[in-house]
């Protein structure tokens, strides 16, 4: 075995094909797209070299600032919501429902397997005001508050998007964190109880520190997923009203494919990549510190 792995040619044979496919399918398009940032034009009119023009445009584009702010706001709110609700559910499964949690677990997980577009249509109908009032507006009407045009203003649209995404994904994070909690040895909890720790103290002092690694991986999962959000928003609000709920991904897509500016679209994509990279590095760094402390 050592003989084979020590042989450079053998390594080349084993890795070469996979590396080649990976390069052609992944690296080449990524580099290609990076190259586009220096060009303007599209597939119809061809490409012309424009140097750093796209980056200057990026710095001065109010729509980019709006989309960047929305993306960060959305990622922060939804990530916190997903992890918090997921963790609370996981605690509920382990400490309250115990062995009887499987039915609840399945029910809460159910929205995860539904197609995004179906969920978005469901929420669209539930919150709509016209042509017919949806379920939510009917209920508001019944208690005397009156109908709200949920998709008519930036704030309420954002609230519906967040609500939908939390409903759709909290089951996933609950299961992920549940498996983490199951790994905590019962003896440790028992020892804690013998020492007089109960309820919140037990969770704060013992459960939370021991589930930090799985919490951190959930955090990385969640924040990268939410920074790259696309399908839920396209299906629910289409980025509207106006461009109030347009994240960077959607703006990039519109710029490239609707407005035919491939170069500028690639520049926006680069901004998104840098953002994801920065956030991931930040999370990794802080996780390393936390683990050494623990």
């Amino acid at each position: 075995m050592n003989d084979i792995l020590g042989d450079r040619k053998a390594i080349a044979v084993l890795l070469g094909p996979a590396l080649l496919v990976y390069s052609v399918a992944m690296l080449l398009p990524v580099l290609w797209s990076l190259g586009y940032t220096l060009f303007s034009g599209n597939a119809i009119i061809g490409f012309t070299y424009v140097g750093a023009d796209n980056f200057v445009k990026l710095a001065n584009d109010p729509a980019v600032r709006q989309a960047l702010w929305f993306t960060v706001k959305y990622a922060a709110v939804v990530t916190v919501g997903q992890i918090l609700l997921g963790y609370l559910l996981a605690l509920l499964y382990v400490f309250v429902l115990k062995n009887g949690s499987s039915v609840i677990r399945t029910l809460v997980f159910f929205p995860v397997v539904l197609p995004t577009v179906a969920v978005a249509l469901l929420f669209q109908k539930m919150f709509q005001i016209a042509p017919q009032e949806g379920l939510v507006n009917s209920l508001l009407g019944a208690v005397g508050i009156g109908a709200v045009d949920w998709f008519g203003t930036a704030g309420t649209s954002f609230a519906v998007i967040v609500l939908m995404d939390l409903w759709r994904s909290m089951g996933f994070y609950a299961v992920l964190l549940y498996t983490g909690l199951l790994d905590i040895p019962e003896e440790l909890l028992e020892a804690g109880r013998l020492d007089g720790a109960t309820g919140l103290t037990l969770i704060w002092r013992i459960v939370l520190p021991l589930s930090l690694p799985v919490l951190l991986s959930s955090l990385i999962f969640s924040i990268n997923g939410t920074l790259k959000v696309f399908d839920t928003i396209v299906a629910l609000t289409g980025g509207g009203p106006g461009n109030a709920t347009t994240p960077l991904t959607l703006y990039m897509y519109q710029t490239s494919f609707n407005y035919g500016e491939y170069g500028y679209g690639s520049t926006i994509a680069l901004l998104l990549t840098v953002l994801c990279l920065l956030v991931t590095v930040f999370v990794f760094r802080s996780s390393r510190r936390d683990l050494t402390e623990a």
Binding site: D7, K9, A10, A12, V13, G16, P17, L20, V21, V24, N42, A43, I44, I45, G46, K57, P62, Q128, I129, A130, P131, A147, D149, F151, G152, T153, A154, G238, G239, G240, P241, G242, N243, A244, Q254, T255, F257, N258, Y259, G260
Partner: protein, 439 residues
Amino acid sequence: MAGQVRRGRSRTAPLVAALGVSALALTACGGGDSETSGGAAGGAGSFDFLVNTENATVPAMLETLSQAECKTADDAAPLKIETVPQKQLDQKLQLLAGQNALPEQFAAGSSPALTKQLAENGHVVDFEKALTDLGKLDKVQPAAIATIESLYGGFNALPYEYNVEGIWYNKKIFADNGIAVPTTWDELVAASEKLQAAGVQPFAASGEQGWPITRMISGYLFRSLGPDAMDEVAAGEAKLTDPEYVAAAQAVADLGAKGWFGQGVGSIDYDTAMAQFLGGETGMMYMGSWALGNFTDPEQNQIGVENVGFMPFPAVAGGKGSIDQLPSNVGLPMTMSEKAYDENAGAWLGCIADNYGSALLEEKQSISGFVADSDAPVDDLTKMVQDKIASTDETVLWFEAHFPTKATDTSQTNAAPLVSGTLSAQEFMELVQTDLDAR
């Protein structure tokens, strides 16, 4: 020996692997290529037609023709229809054009700018030449050709529709409430107030589409500043943020502020707005005469075709424009791919030029830019529109006619926020002007 064999293998294996992967890659490319050329050549001899989902008339009419007058063309290249939502049309056309895979016939882009771009790069048939070659240039009305040329810079689209636009109103509701047909903006506002007081929503408008609202802004501009108002913006001589332009957006926003477009206007799609008007729920609707097909369809029209009236966009006090300058257009027109244009596509084009105008008038009571040789009787509403078209000397375009795609998109997606009050008239015009300046 064993060592030799192993060395031999390790020398050839990378080569074999590399060959294998290249073969895979080549097969993948080959597959793509054959698909592409299949698309460009018309999917093995068919007459492919990509059309926006919202347009039900043209596909239905072509299907009728394919079984009757155009049977010969259809036998040689059967009609194959594919639909795409209008919002995704531009993107689809760009991708197909990039792969040289545009179908034989397709709906031109939502903004004329895209069609111009396609034409400049040899993706669109020059119909002047194609129809002259077929000897059928006289089958298209000169007025329609002129409109197309002013929009697209050449005869690059087919006028399956030829429309005038204005405000359609419910005659019965107007009569019941003692409202005379408004000829000025102030009268229109007064009429709306009366309707609202009587419990009738004054306007039906699709905020989801946006253009029914922005066209009221351009309507106001053409009346207040004259027929050149939007040309001056396109030429950079005026800006949308100039006070006289913002005033037009403000006038339309004011209609919305009073709730005259109904609640949740941003969620109203085209069909819903049409159903609201034809169901007698609203008094008025800004629309083009392409809707004659809906008006004359008794299943859709609950108020009766005799109760649908047309008023030109009203005059603005002290304005330079005239109420007789009607907005005209060729709808969202269809065009054909230069690269897929062959004898079979030519046969279809010839047959369409010969028969479409008459067939549309007979079946849908609608008017196209093709010459109609039909003697079939038409109803009063269609006759009225025909007369309007014939008697209009000067026409105007619409708000986004000269805008690039991005500005068009910005204008139409922000129309609903404008009338629902989340965006001020100044902010709306600034957003659109920013996109125009970025050209």
